[in-house]
């Protein structure tokens, strides 16, 4: 190659220069990639090598007061098909026929769903049973994506549907207690970052970091499933019997405010709920706390309690009932148009005399009357913890639009709007010695952070203990002093008051439509339950005494026996020694 000795050929030099140039170029390029743009490519490489996975936490269980699950989460799978992987018709047909029996769809439906869009994922099944989902995953079909999730199960069926509410696809509460207690039930999602291979499989002993999910807390309610079932069955029976448009029953412990049962109709059924279909959103609200109505004659016990507490009257004070009262040119009569002459305050309640209630407010005056109405909790939410609670309406004498006639009508529960829960807690203050208790439905929450127990809360004392005892005794006379009262409970002393309200409509009242109600508690001496019964627009009979009071008379004996409340001694059969 060298021509003369010691001289290198020019061809070798050119070749060497070319190789050197190429090597230099490689070095420059490497320096450019690995030094100048190091951060950029390091991030890109990490994104390709690392996968991120969100780990959904297990949603907490909702239990009744006895620890029986009302709503529990089960493991499940959401299945999707990547459309691009199902391009081959023959293969897609075969895969669809394999999947069809496992997801309860026809192969044609699956193929139609996949073909509906050119790109993206087709939702094959949501919330599929875990075992079935695993068997589908194990098939290893191309394009099949399985996302672990959970779904809600209801061991007691439709019990307390309106109260429990429901969750959406992403297991977030959308209504009822599932929404109200979302922060307690949801838990905290975890995440996992791991090195993966080209197939997406985690690399053994590869880099891995993350946080485990924190499961949601279990919530134990004050609701008793057996009492709830009794209440729901009775409510459904009565609504059907009277062809009513709906109704509400609430059972509460008057001493603590713990809600033992709460049912409203119309409502929805958890076991057949399909959120993909259009539904009336009115079915999802808890009418016991959201819907207001005029309390009617039940309000008379509040008016009476105010007058007794101020020492203006006692159980035997008398007044003269002329059958009507005229105020501002407007004449108000008793509900039955009766004229009764001299009556005691106890008889006032027994006969539910509108004239008597108006007489009491003439003694009280507007200022004291509304002061007591507000002290009993009307016009403000009860802070029960249930979502959508309304605060009702009380127009006082210093507000615009108030007229003296309002004082008269308010005294017997017209012109005041309140929720069933407000009315129940107000009357409960008479049952428990004068304390306005805050109603509550969550007894405790048990979660990874520990146990949180909710104690009864006394909001205020609207009336004295002596006043409460006096009015309770008068309410007992309402039930037991009236022959054949339908709220009587054999073996127990019961106190109560009926109410019959004309339904208010925009611009006035529907004189052909009533709300029949009854509030009662038992036993008189140491009340264990207080119950509000409200039947909306009964078609066959408008009166609370004939429609709502019998509901109390039917439910109270069963509930008291279930709670092991000892009846009067005369009812006891002594065990033979």
């Amino acid at each position: 190659m060298s021509g003369r000795r010691g001289r290198v050929s020019w061809r070798l030099i050119v070749l060497a220069l070319l190789f050197a140039g190429g090597a230099a170029g490689l070095v420059v390029r490497l320096a450019y990639l690995q030094i100048v743009h190091r951060e950029h490519y390091a991030v890109e490489a990490e994104q390709q090598h690392l996968s991120e996975q969100t780990i959904r936490p297990t949603r907490g269980t909702i239990l009744d007061r006895g620890g029986y699950p009302l709503a529990i989460s089960l493991d499940a799978y959401d299945l999707y098909i990547e459309r691009r992987a199902w391009q081959s018709r023959a293969s897609a047909r075969s895969w669809a026929e394999t999947l069809a029996p496992l997801v309860s769809k026809s192969a044609d439906d699956i193929l139609a769903g996949v073909a509906a869009e050119p790109e993206g994922d087709y939702t094959l099944a949501l919330g599929l049973d875990y075992n079935r989902g695993r068997s589908i995953v194990d098939l290893g079909l191309p394009g099949l994506k399985a996302v672990p999730t959970t779904r809600r199960s209801y061991p007691e069926g439709d019990l307390a549907s309106g109260l429990l509410g429901f969750v959406g696809r992403d297991q977030v509460g959308l209504a009822g207690l599932e929404a109200d207690l979302q922060s307690e039930l949801a838990g905290t999602p975890g995440d996992l970052y791991f090195e993966r291979d080209s197939l997406g499989t985690p690399i053994p002993f590869g880099s891995q970091r993350g946080r485990p999910p924190i499961p949601g807390g279990d919530v134990r309610l004050t609701i008793d499933r057996y009492i709830q079932r009794l209440v729901e069955e009775e409510l459904d029976r009565r609504i059907e019997k009277h062809a009513a448009s709906g109704g509400t029953i609430i059972v509460m412990d008057p001493m603590t405010g713990a809600i033992l049962a709460m049912a409203s109709r119309p409502s929805f059924r958890l076991t057949v709920l399909d959120l993909s279909k259009e539904m009336d959103p009115a079915l999802f609200r808890n009418r016991a706390v959201t819907d207001v109505y005029e309390p009617g004659s039940v309000m008379k016990v509040i008016t009476m309690a105010a007058a007794v507490d101020l020492g203006l009257v006692n159980a035997n004070t008398t007044y003269y009932d002329a059958g009507y009262v005229s105020i501002g040119g407007i004449t108000i009569e008793n509900w039955d148009f009766s004229v009764n002459g001299t009556q005691t305050t106890t008889q006032l309640l027994q006969k539910s005399l509108n004239t008597g209630a108006i007489w009491l407010t003439s003694l009280l005056g507007a200022e004291d009357f509304y002061r007591y109405v507000q002290r009993f909790g009307f016009g403000a939410v009860t802070n029960s913890g249930l979502g959508g609670e309304a605060d009702g309406l009380v127009r006082t004498s210093d507000e615009e639009g108030w007229y003296p006639i309002d004082l008269a009508t308010n005294s017997f529960g017209q012109g005041i709007a309140a929720t069933p829960i407000q009315i129940l807690t107000a009357v409960a203050a008479i049952a428990n010695g004068g304390k306005l208790m805050q109603p509550y439905i969550v007894q405790e929450v048990v979660g990874p952070q520990g146990r949180r127990v909710y104690e009864p809360v006394v909001v205020r004392q609207p009336i004295s203990g002596a006043t409460a005892q006096t009015v309770a005794q008068m309410m007992n006379e309402v039930v037991e002093g009236v022959p054949y009262h339908l709220a009587r409970v054999p073996g127990y002393h019961v106190a109560g008051k009926t109410g019959t309200t004309i339904v208010s409509i925009p611009g006035g009242y529907d004189l052909n439509s009533t709300i029949a109600s009854f509030v009662g508690f038992a036993p008189l001496e140491h009340p264990r339950i207080i119950m509000l019964v409200k039947i909306d627009q009964p078609q066959d009979d408008p009166l609370g005494g004939r429609v709502a009071a019998p509901v109390f008379g039917a439910l109270a004996p069963e509930i008291l026996a279930y709670l092991n409340v000892k009846p009067d001694a005369t009812e006891l059969v002594q065990q033979e020694p």
């Binding site: 029986y68 199960s153 069926g157 053994p204 405790e444 026996a561 002594q574 065990q575």
Partner: protein, 140 residues
């Protein structure tokens, strides 16, 4: 002649030692490489085993949740009534008699402890104080 007069044995000994050293070195490198392959293969297998066990753990957790739901369903009021009416022929009581009984009611545990919030697991498991003390010792 003196240029040829070299001790041939010393040269061959050096060559022979060099070959041996090279062979040993090559063998060591090959062995190291083999060990590396074996370790990587073992790690990969262990990784797959871990994934399998992890999946088994998830399957068992799902099974536990399913069994809890099944227990809840079996103790549901609807099922209790169905069994009472259908299998036992019971009917709702018409006349209620109230009896005063002195003995306390039996203790009941209808749901798993995780859901009932019961804390007396030690007492229920039958562990005595001296067994608990022994268990607390590090060498026990």
């Amino acid at each position: 002649m003196s240029a040829i007069d070299r001790p041939l044995a010393r040269t061959s000994f050096r060559l022979w030692s060099l070959r041996r050293i090279l062979a040993l070195a090559f063998g060591a490198v090959a062995l190291l490489g083999l060990l590396q392959v074996i370790e990587t293969s073992d790690a990969t297998s262990t990784g797959y085993t871990i994934r399998r066990l992890d999946q088994e753990r998830l399957d068992l957790a799902a099974q536990v949740h399913g069994l809890e739901a099944e227990v809840a369903s079996l103790t549901s009021l609807e099922r209790v009534e169905r069994e009472a009416r259908g299998r036992l022929g019971m009917v709702p009581a018409e006349n209620v008699l109230y009896l005063e009984v002195d003995t306390p009611p039996p203790r009941q545990q209808p749901v798993p402890r995780r859901l009932s919030g019961s804390d007396d697991s030690a007492a229920e498991s039958g562990t005595s104080w001296w067994q608990a003390l022994l268990k607390a010792l590090p060498f026990y």
